[in-house]
Symmetry: C2
Subunit: 343 residues, 2 copies
């Protein structure tokens, strides 16, 4: 029996997570859910972001289903660093998984690209790079102020995520893996990534490989997104690339993500890429598709491959049946997807 911690969070997070949970319950009825009230509301009430006792409880779960965290009332960085990134680091979620597909029924802003033509996964490193928070500020608020940010990269951290990406590429039809970095400027970290990539590639002779600079990759994702199969990259470049990938597949409405500890030593977190969207919160009109697709990634991670497939197919059917521009009700989408996936 799977034990899932639910961190629905803020804004539309609570609404879409309710539907993701509904769908998991429909395909895996004996799942146990424990709710955790974290995020902007919790922070504003308690001035705490993630008490140690709660983190310990989260650690005892098989996975975390997360909605969206954040509200304009909280200064930038507090919840991101204190909750989202803290979980990625403390739970060693080094594979940040972000599939992008142009689903039937959705439209790319790029002309001439048809559903099915974009089908890629970005494997973003999740525990290193510029996200470690190393850096500081001197002489704050004076003309002499300086601020630093340090990107830390280890062979250990780079190698394991690259190996994971090769494995994922090998299990896909096209078996193609693109490394994205900026080796011509970030020669220290870029060198480590490039040499490690070449070394691990020798273990996967059936995967074709390619290297692109982040600026070129950002351009090609717009001019020729069909060329990508699996992409592996560092934490910050992955953050940017996955948002471009979401944009060319019609926006973040369908963008799911998992922050994964592949060994399952710690729980992995699954969440839609979209934010808490305070502007439409509370109206029951947020699209839960990305949250439900994130639930599908969760099911797959826990080994429920068949249930995962049924859920993602049910979302695909739901989206394909939509009338462009028609409004939707969050709960109705969840009901329909749950019914289809359970059938």
């Amino acid at each position: 029996m799977a034990r899932i911690a639910v961190v629905a969070g803020d804004g539309i997070g609570t609404e879409v997570t309710a539907e993701a949970r509904k769908v998991i319950e429909a395909v895996l009825p004996d799942t146990e859910f424990d709710d955790y009230d974290l995020g902007a509301r919790f922070y504003n009430r308690t001035k705490e972001v993630l008490p140690q006792a709660i983190e310990d409880e989260l650690a005892a779960h098989d996975a975390i289903l997360l909605g969206a965290i954040g509200d304009p009332s909280v200064p930038p960085g507090v919840l991101e660093r204190g909750l989202l990134l803290k979980l990625r680091f403390d739970f060693d979620q080094y594979v940040n998984l972000r599939p992008s597909r142009l689903w039937p029924g959705t439209t790319s802003p790029l002309s001439g690209i048809k559903p099915g033509e974009i089908d890629m996964v970005v494997v973003r490193e999740g525990t290193e790079g510029l996200y470690v928070g190393a850096g500081g500020v001197l002489h704050k608020n004076t003309p002499a102020e300086i601020a630093t940010e340090e990107s830390l990269n280890t062979r250990h951290g780079v190698e394991r995520v690259i190996r994971d990406a090769f494995g994922r590429a090998q299990r896909r039809e096209r078996r193609h893996l693109t490394l994205v970095h900026k080796t011509n400027v970030l020669t220290h970290a870029g060198g480590l990534w490039a040499r490690t990539f070449a070394a691990v590639a020798a273990e996967f002779p059936d995967v074709t490989t390619e290297y692109q600079h982040i600026d070129a990759a950002s351009m090609f994702l717009v001019s020729n997104p069909q060329r990508y199969d699996v992409v592996v990259t560092d934490n910050l470049f992955g953050d940017i690339l996955t948002d471009i990938a979401a944009a060319v597949t019609g926006g973040i409405g369908m963008a799911a993500s998992g922050s994964v500890n592949p060994e399952r030593k710690y729980p992995s977190t699954f969440e839609p890429v979209h934010g808490s969207a305070p502007d439409i919160a509370g109206q029951g009109i947020a699209d839960p598709a990305a949250a439900i697709l994130s639930a599908s990634l969760l099911l797959e991670h826990l080994g429920h491959t068949d249930e995962a497939r049924r859920v993602s197919e049910a979302v695909a059917a739901e989206v394909a049946s939509r009338t462009p521009g028609a409004s939707l009700r969050t709960a109705e989408v969840g009901d329909r997807v749950a019914a289809t996936a359970a059938a």
Copy 2:
């Protein structure tokens, strides 16, 4: 009389730069040009990238007209760090200027966007951030290897580029400036950028402002590029954003850039964003439009506003008259633009 150093460089760099020079000669006949043979060929012959004596000579010019640098025979980083970035740093070219327009006669890969609807300038910081080369590698080629890259940001450096961007925004019709950073994760550097932006904004009450995270901006550049007027951002984010901006305006064929020292204490460098394109080099089929538009930025920087406008209008007319898909001859394009601009 303007003295221009010409660094035509490698591959198609030499071909397109010849046309840019031709056009400058047509509108400003008494310009003096001095050629410098630098780039991959020079490096492979001499094992030197930029001898001090040559850099000193470059420093004595009003501006540098650069083609493209690079060839697969040279390891990544050598020419970039040793020549392109060295000039930006040594000549204090802190304003890296990258206009993007969807010109009549060109097509965006985005559906439903018409020429004229995208018209933006990215003001990218050019002398700080992750480009400074601070960092290193320990225990190379062992399992214990680590690699670091450090982003260095000063109030001095951030403030001057932000003030420049506000000035440019103020001189444009829409008077809108967007700051792009990643304040929710890079809290140290992001804080410095955000606070400096707010302080300088007080000097420009007629410019409206906005802040976006780099990931969100990368997405909006695809989903809604019309919303941007002037964007100011750091060195690395600017590198990425300008390639996305180039992509949504139809590729790098029209993407011009200037690495500018606004005080003209040192020469500024003007170059097309595209590379040396070894695959099509030597055939006389490279499009010199971006190189000629870079020459227009050069003329403007040197105060030849009227000549600059005539050149960019001549390029616009040339491009508008093209038959989509038709092949072109590099020299013929240069001839036509030179004739139009001189008339």
